[in-house]
Structure formats: structure tokens, C-alpha cells
């Protein structure tokens, strides 16, 4: 009974998301927020795979988002590539960067691993900030286009209007979550989880730990890159400040508060991150004060995050069933 109810709820949410432009017609800012949620959720999915499922605490994640974003920006503006080709190239670029940087980082454990990921995030940001000829430096890279209009039979769909871009963002976000689901509920996912729980044991059971860490790091970085491209196409501008250390920390926050190692975690985290200030009608600074405090509290008292809290609430509400699941 519980399972099917969950499915129904999921379908309702999906239906709501798919029809969002109609029920937000009076308040377009809600649709704007939904787009932002998708933009934040995608890199969070990447980090969730790395941190939540594989135990890799990467503190420089948004560096990869920036790498993807700027790669696409340069390709679209300077080389006049289409959005789709630029997206593909950017995804590959950030994935490859993930492989290279990951291989260096995996020589380290514990603190040192975290510090080295932080250092690379800072290096990537420094490049974005200072390589003026290519990235336009600290001032930002303006003039990034939306995807060119698509031909659909007689219709021409342009991505200028918010609802159209929303469907693009939603589509990419759903894709990211689909990838996450496929990975997590597979042999690969079980291997990643074993690596997180006990690396030595995984090794003794035949797991090439280095190889799998590299794979998940590449995947996570590629997803970050996708999020970066989506962001700069939406905002039409790329700024280094969107990909600095604090933004990497915000991504960690989204993953942890949402629920690290859970499928819905990144969605819940992004929802809260974007939605909370609107619902509480708060100024921007207080949002992050609350979030910072939430992160500390969750780490102390509810390490499974929102997803964990919701699922224990669900268990408490559902009547007990005989036998095991």
C-alpha cells in the first residue's frame, strides 16, 4: 500500500511540474524559481553521486560547473556553435576535467582529499577570474544566447520565453535524476556504496576502487557542467562569482540538507534553497544564515537530511505490514 501511494504522489508531482506554466501563469516568478531549482539541482545530483553515494567529499564541485559554463559560453559566442553542440562539448570537457583532477585527488584520503579538491576548485575559479582574453575575467561574460529556436513541423519554438526555457531546464533535470536512479539502483551503484562504507573491504572483494572513483567523479563533474551551461544560458551571462568556493559550499549544503545518499535529496535541497526565502519573505542574507544553521543542525541531529526526515515520518504514518520488505 505504501509503495503504490508513493508512486501516485510521484506522478502527481510530475504532473504538476509538467503543467507548471499553466498554474503559474499569474505568478511568473514561481516559474522562474522552478527554473532556478532545476539549475541548482543538476550539479547537486552530481555531487550526491560523489559525496552521498560514494563518500567523496569534494569541496570544489562548482569549479566544474564553471568549466562547463565557460566552455559553452566561448563555443556559443566566439565560435558560434549551437547550444546543443556546446552543451555536449561542455559536458565532455567537465567530465574529462573530472577524470584528470580526480586522479590527482584520489592519491589522498580524509582531510587531504578534501583540501586538494578545494584547491582545484579555487584554481578553476582563479582561471575564470583572471584569464581575461578567454573568459572576460571578473567582469563576467555577457551575451550568452538562449538555445536557437527549434523547428517542430510548422511551429518554431524559441527559448526566449520563460515557459519554453522551463521545459528545457525541467527536461535536463529529469534526465539528471534518471541517470542518478539508473546508477544507484544497479551493480555500479552497489559498488560505489561499498566503496563508501568500507574501501578496504571493497578492494578485497575485487573492486578496482580507483577506477570506480574516477568514473563517479567524471560523471559528477559532467553533471555539474550541464548545470553550469543551463545556468549561463538562462541568465545570459557567466560570472566567476557563480562558481567560487562559497557556491561549492552551497552545493554541499543542498546535498546534505536535502539528504545525502538519497534519490530525492538533491531535489528537496534545491527546493528548499531556492524556495525558502520566497516563502519566508526574507532578505537574502538571512536565507543563508538559516541555511548555514540548518546545515549544522542537520549534521548534528538529522544526518540523513530532509529525505531522511520525510522517510521516517512516512514510516511512522504507514501502518506496519507483516513480513519483511
Amino acid at each position: 500500500m505504501g509503495r503504490s501511494l508513493l508512486w501516485v504522489l510521484g506522478l502527481l508531482v510530475l504532473a504538476a511540474l509538467l503543467s507548471a506554466p499553466s498554474w503559474t501563469a499569474e505568478q511568473p516568478y514561481v516559474l522562474h524559481m522552478l527554473v532556478l531549482m532545476c539549475i541548482f539541482a543538476i550539479p547537486a545530483v552530481g555531487l550526491n553521486l560523489m559525496l552521498g553515494y560514494s563518500g567523496l567529499v569534494s569541496l570544489g564541485h562548482m569549479g566544474f560547473a564553471g568549466l562547463g559554463a565557460y566552455t559553452a559560453a566561448v563555443l556559443m559566442v566566439d565560435a558560434r556553435w549551437s547550444f546543443w553542440s556546446a552543451l555536449g562539448a561542455a559536458t565532455i570537457a567537465s567530465g574529462l576535467a573530472g577524470v584528470c583532477i580526480g586522479l590527482i585527488c584520489f592519491r589522498f584520503r580524509g582531510h587531504f582529499f578534501m583540501i586538494v579538491t578545494l584547491a582545484f576548485g579555487l584554481l578553476l575559479h582563479a582561471v575564470m577570474n583572471n584569464w581575461d582574453e578567454v573568459t572576460r575575467g571578473a567582469a563576467g561574460f555577457a551575451g550568452i544566447p538562449r538555445p536557437r529556436p527549434l523547428q517542430w513541423g510548422d511551429e518554431v519554438i524559441s527559448f526566449g520565453p520563460l515557459p519554453h526555457f522551463y521545459y528545457l531546464a525541467l527536461g535536463l533535470a529529469l534526465l539528471a535524476f534518471a541517470v542518478q536512479y539508473l546508477v544507484v539502483r544497479s551493480d555500479l551503484g552497489r559498488i560505489l556504496s561499498a566503496i563508501r562504507q568500507d574501501e578496504r573491504l571493497a578492494r578485497s572483494r575485487g573492486v578496482d576502487v580507483l577506477l570506480y572513483k574516477t568514473v563517479v567523479f567524471a560523471l559528477g563533474s559532467a553533471l555539474a557542467g550541464v548545470g553550469g551551461v543551463l545556468q549561463v544560458s538562462f541568465l545570459r551571462v557567466a560570472a566567476p562569482a557563480s562558481f567560487n568556493m562559497l557556491e561549492s559550499i552551497n552545493t554541499v549544503l543542498i546535498v546534505i540538507v536535502g539528504g545525502a545518499g538519497s534519490l530525492m535529496g538533491p531535489a528537496l535541497g534545491a527546493l528548499l534553497y531556492v524556495g525558502l526565502p520566497e516563502w519566508l519573505r526574507l532578505a537574502n542574507e538571512w536565507r543563508l544564515v538559516i541555511f548555514g544553521g540548518l546545515l549544522v543542525l542537520i549534521t548534528l541531529f538529522a544526518p540523513a537530511g530532509l529525505a531522511g526526515l520525510l522517510s521516517s515520518l512516512w514510516r511512522r504514518l504507514s501502518p506496519p505490514r507483516g513480513g519483511s520488505s
Binding site: 587531504f112 584547491a119 532578505a283 548555514g292 548534528l300
Partner: protein, 291 residues
């Protein structure tokens, strides 16, 4: 040329002193609690803001403002250790994540209370000048170097010759042995944490009048402090001092050859280089495998 070099050397010593203060705090905390406190940067920022606050609102005396700021940071440090870090003992990942949460919490609290703009903090020492040959330095510049020197010496003597200082050193070497010998490890932990926070606070209060007081002022010192302790060796107090100084001087001297934009990148590259070539730094022990 010699003069320009000397000018940058003195600048380097000054920036190095600031890095040393941050690095010392971090190495104390790391040694005793085996945690890298990523929130150290915001504690530095708090030192700046509290110093500014006490100077303008309460008294008009700079030294007193520094002292009050430092004392406040000691209290904050004890609260953080007891409330956040101690309950998470043994779980490195969660301690680090909690310290990240503290960064967001404290940095944005500062913005909420004092606004996002930089504040100017005028104190007497920035207005007085000292002549060294052809060069002129503000009293404040030199004061930072002197104060750091005094603090480092005091800390060194404290660690080496007092009973509590020895307890701190013993606990950093081996917590189990310290317990066996009867050292009050818990007390050592919260007081070292408080001491580390105080050092960060001094740094912020000293730097505030020099550059500006702004919410992100601790972000860069955090990284420089990290680079300093990596260079010096993770558990080593003398290492932190030497590492911080080397970084400061290297950065300043590098501005003679490289565009200033890249100055901060030196620290990042140094961090990666050290980790790749000599992870134990100059004076640290062979890294334990933190599996």
C-alpha cells in the same frame, strides 16, 4: 631595485604575519582535535567586525578593542567546540560539513548585521609613518609584524615551558597516551580550540584597519592558512610559522615578476604542489593513512 625588493620583503613579512596567525590557530586545532577547521576564515572575519564594533561603539581605544574582540572570540570558540565539534567527534566528514555550515551561518550573519558593504576602520596607527631609508611604512604595517612576533614567542614559550602547554603538546602527539597519563583531554580540546579562535580573531582585528572590514575578508586568509600549514607540515607549530612566512614573502616578491592578479593563485598552486610532492610538508610526520 634593491629598494623595491626590500619594500616587498617587508610587505611579505607583514602579510606573512597575518597568515601565520591564521595558520597557528588552525594547526593548534588540528593537532589536538585532528580536524581542519574550515570555519577558521569566518572567525578571522568576526575578529575584524568585533574589533570594529568595540572600537566604535564601546571604547575608542584600538588595543582595548582588540582585546575585547579576542575575548569574545574565545567565548565563541568554546561554544563552537562544545556545541558543534565535540558531539561530532570521530566523524571527520560531518565535522567538516558542520564547519562549512558555520561558514555560511557566520559569514551571512555578519552581512545581516552589518550590511554587505565594506567598512572603513580608521585607527591611529595607520596614520603614523615610519621611515626606513627611502621607504615609508605605516606604524600599523610594522605593528602587525611585531605583534605577531610577540604572540608567536609567547605561544612558543607557553607550549614548551608551562604545564598546560605541555599537556597540549602531549595531546597532539597521542590522545590515548595523554588520557593514560591523566591529562584532561577535554579541557585541552576546548581551550586549544578557543586559543585557535583567539589567534584568528587577532588576525582579523589587526588586518581590519589596514584593508577594509568586509564579510568575505576571511575567505582568502583561510586558504592562505591552509597553504601555510600544508607547507609547514600538518601538525607542526613551527611549521605553521615558517610556512605562513614563506607564503607571505613569496607572494609579495612575486608581484615584482607576475601580474598581481595571479598572486593568490600562488597559494593554490603551492597547495597542490606540496600535496603531490611532499604531503608531509617541511616538518610534518609521514601522513597516517586516514582511511
Amino acid at each position: 631595485m634593491g629598494e623595491v625588493l626590500l619594500e616587498q620583503l617587508i610587505n611579505g613579512l607583514m602579510m606573512g604575519s597575518v597568515y601565520v596567525l591564521v595558520a597557528l590557530g588552525m594547526v593548534l586545532i588540528y593537532g589536538v582535535m585532528h580536524v581542519v577547521n574550515f570555519a577558521h576564515g569566518v572567525l578571522f572575519t568576526l575578529g575584524g567586525y568585533l574589533g570594529y564594533f568595540f572600537y566604535h561603539r564601546v571604547f575608542d581605544s584600538y588595543p582595548l578593542a582588540i582585546v575585547l574582540a579576542v575575548l569574545s572570540l574565545a567565548v565563541i570558540g568554546v561554544l563552537l567546540e562544545r556545541g558543534v565539534f565535540r558531539p561530532l567527534t570521530g566523524n571527520l566528514r560531518n565535522q567538516v560539513i558542520a564547519s562549512l555550515g558555520l561558514i555560511l551561518f557566520l559569514e551571512n550573519l555578519v552581512v545581516a548585521l552589518w550590511g554587505p558593504n565594506a567598512l572603513q576602520w580608521k585607527v591611529a596607527t595607520t596614520e603614523h609613518w615610519v621611515q626606513l631609508g627611502e621607504l615609508r611604512f605605516s606604524l600599523h604595517h610594522l605593528g602587525i609584524i611585531v605583534v605577531t612576533l610577540l604572540l608567536v614567542t609567547a605561544l612558543g614559550l607557553f607550549l614548551k615551558y608551562t604545564r598546560f602547554g605541555t599537556a597540549i603538546r602531549a595531546t597532539s602527539q597521542s590522545q590515548e597516551a595523554a588520557i593514560v597519563v591523566g591529562i584532561p583531554v577535554r579541557t585541552v580540546q576546548w581551550s586549544s580550540f578557543a586559543l585557535g579562535c583567539m589567534l584568528a580573531g587577532v588576525g582579523g582585528a589587526l588586518v581590519g584597519p589596514l584593508f577594509l572590514v568586509f564579510p568575505q575578508m576571511g575567505d582568502v586568509p583561510l586558504i592562505k592558512g591552509l597553504a601555510g600549514i600544508l607547507l609547514g607540515g600538518m601538525g607542526s607549530v613551527p611549521g605553521a610559522v615558517i610556512g605562513g612566512m614563506i607564503l607571505g614573502v613569496t607572494e609579495s616578491v612575486s608581484t615584482l615578476f607576475l601580474p598581481t592578479d595571479y598572486r593568490d593563485s600562488i597559494a593554490f598552486m603551492m597547495m597542490v604542489a606540496i600535496l603531490l610532492l611532499r604531503p608531509q610538508g617541511l616538518f610534518g610526520q609521514r601522513m597516517r593513512g586516514e582511511d
